[in-house]
């Protein structure tokens, strides 16, 4: 029982990946250690901080609260892929311009969660942004600049939307 492993096949950032992994490995540990995608961070490793967010089959999840074997057959996208979408690219630019990060540890999780918000609600209020990001802890910024950056991205995306 100590070292049960399983083989999985999934798509990560449009790349087909096959691997044999321990059943008790979390998805974020697999992405970082097995696939070399270190943009998703491990903060608390038990679901509190949101630094490990990844997108699994179109929805944002905590990468530490899903086993890697559960991603068998799934389509996964990480922060490394965010710039390929217009929302992700707009958020990255706005976070940079608005200085919405200091150490950057929480930023990948923030951006993926904000991207899901803007996809569902293109022009959220500040309260809606705060509610959407309530599960992402930042210990540097005090959050105001992060909310500003999401609003900035939202405004720019609405300008270019048809």
């Amino acid at each position: 029982m100590d070292n049960q492993t399983l083989s999985i096949a999934c798509t990560i950032n449009d790349r087909a990946i096959r691997a044999t992994i321990p059943v008790r490995q979390s998805l974020v540990d697999f992405l970082r250690e097995g696939v070399g995608l270190t943009g998703s961070h491990v903060g608390c490793a038990h679901g509190v901080c949101g630094a490990c967010h990844v997108v699994v089959d179109g929805v944002v999840v905590r990468g530490c609260l899903i086993l890697a074997v559960q991603a068998d057959g799934a389509e996964i996208s990480t922060i490394e892929h965010a710039a390929t979408t217009s929302i992700g690219a707009a958020l990255q630019a706005a976070f940079f311009e608005r200085a919405a990060l200091q150490c950057g540890f929480c930023t990948s999780g923030m951006i993926l969660q904000a991207a899901e918000l803007l996809a569902q609600n293109p022009e959220p209020s500040r309260d809606e942004i705060r509610a959407a990001l309530s599960g992402n802890l930042c210990r540097c910024t005090g959050y105001h600049a992060i909310v500003d950056a999401v609003q900035m991205a939202s405004a720019r995306l609405s300008d270019i939307a048809p």
Binding site: M1, D2, N3, Q4, L6, P22, V23, R24, Q25, S26, D29, A45, H46, G47, G50, H53, V59, V60, V61, R62, C64, L65, I66, L67, V69, Q70, Q113, E116, L117, R130, A131, A132, S134, G135, N136
Partner: protein, 270 residues
């Protein structure tokens, strides 16, 4: 890797789940959304021999209208799916806004929340206020539980180790019903210090608290006072609130009264 070693099974059918529960029920944990089980594994508070992943069972998360009225929610329906469904009562949708955070609601399930029975959890108290029926399944067949008698205490329910929660049935509640869910927490999405679920129909009222007592239940004395149009607060002597350093018994009792009065105002009663 933080969890202690376990064996992992990912059955494709309910029959296979039930066979595993028959053989290993007391030493097994069912993995649905994993939003509580995974932290418990990481902290090694839970150390099951076997983890049974039910995410590959088709149809277990379906939300469907019951022909005679009401709604049937599969145990593995994710919180985000329940929140987005026009079929579920408004009480559940407003309570779900208090359940953790978006990424956790994308994954966590209704059945998982009910099976865990955290005293601060919103969904168990909504089930009591809605008069829901919780259906469990074992190799012996289905068992139907009234939500009001399903929750026995802290993390304790009527579910036996060889059973899984299969679905939840919410009875029809017509347009005359009014609902309110209010909660006090330190931060949006944190565990409730106290919360109230209130459902009021014509000549009928049901309320239940979360975070106040070890488990949600009906409160007949308070409900009778509300129906009589009297001040309901004296009824709350029937509560036996939990006590902790950050939220002493007297504070939880105070919050229960304040939240109940606000909830009654919200449904247009008093």
């Amino acid at each position: 890797m933080k969890p202690a070693p376990f064996r992992y099974e990912r059955p494709a059918t309910l029959e296979a789940v039930l066979a595993l529960l028959d053989a290993h029920g007391a030493q097994a944990e069912i993995l649905a959304g994993g939003q509580s089980l995974m932290p418990m594994l990481a902290l090694r508070v839970a150390r099951p021999d076997l983890v049974i992943d039910i995410n590959r069972i088709a149809g277990l998360g379906d939300i469907t209208a019951i022909p005679d009225g009401g709604v049937r929610i599969g145990a593995r329906a994710r919180h985000a799916e329940v929140m987005a469904s026009p079929l579920v009562p408004a009480l559940m949708r407003s309570a779900l806004a208090h359940v953790a955070h978006p990424a956790i609601r994308n994954r966590g399930t209704l059945g998982g929340s009910l099976a865990l029975a955290d005293p601060a959890a919103e969904m168990p108290c909504c089930m009591v206020a809605l008069g829901a029926r919780i259906v469990t399944l074992s190799s012996r067949g289905e068992t139907h539980h009234d939500a009001a008698s399903f929750f026995h205490g802290l993390y304790s329910t009527a579910r036996r180790p060889d059973e899984m929660i299969l679905r939840i049935e919410i009875p029809p509640l017509g347009p005359q019903w009014r609902f309110a869910f209010l909660e006090e927490a330190r931060r949006l999405g944190d565990y409730a210090i106290a919360g109230v679920a209130l459902a009021m129909g014509a000549g009928e009222v049901r309320l239940a608290f979360c975070g106040v007592e070890p488990a949600p239940r009906c409160l007949p004395a308070t409900e009778a006072l509300i129906l009589a149009g009297a001040d309901p607060l004296p009824g709350l002597v029937e509560l036996a609130p939990m006590d902790s350093d950050d939220a002493p018994e007297a504070y939880r009792r105070h919050l229960a009264g304040v939240l109940l009065k606000r909830a009654l105002r919200e449904v247009g009663h008093g």
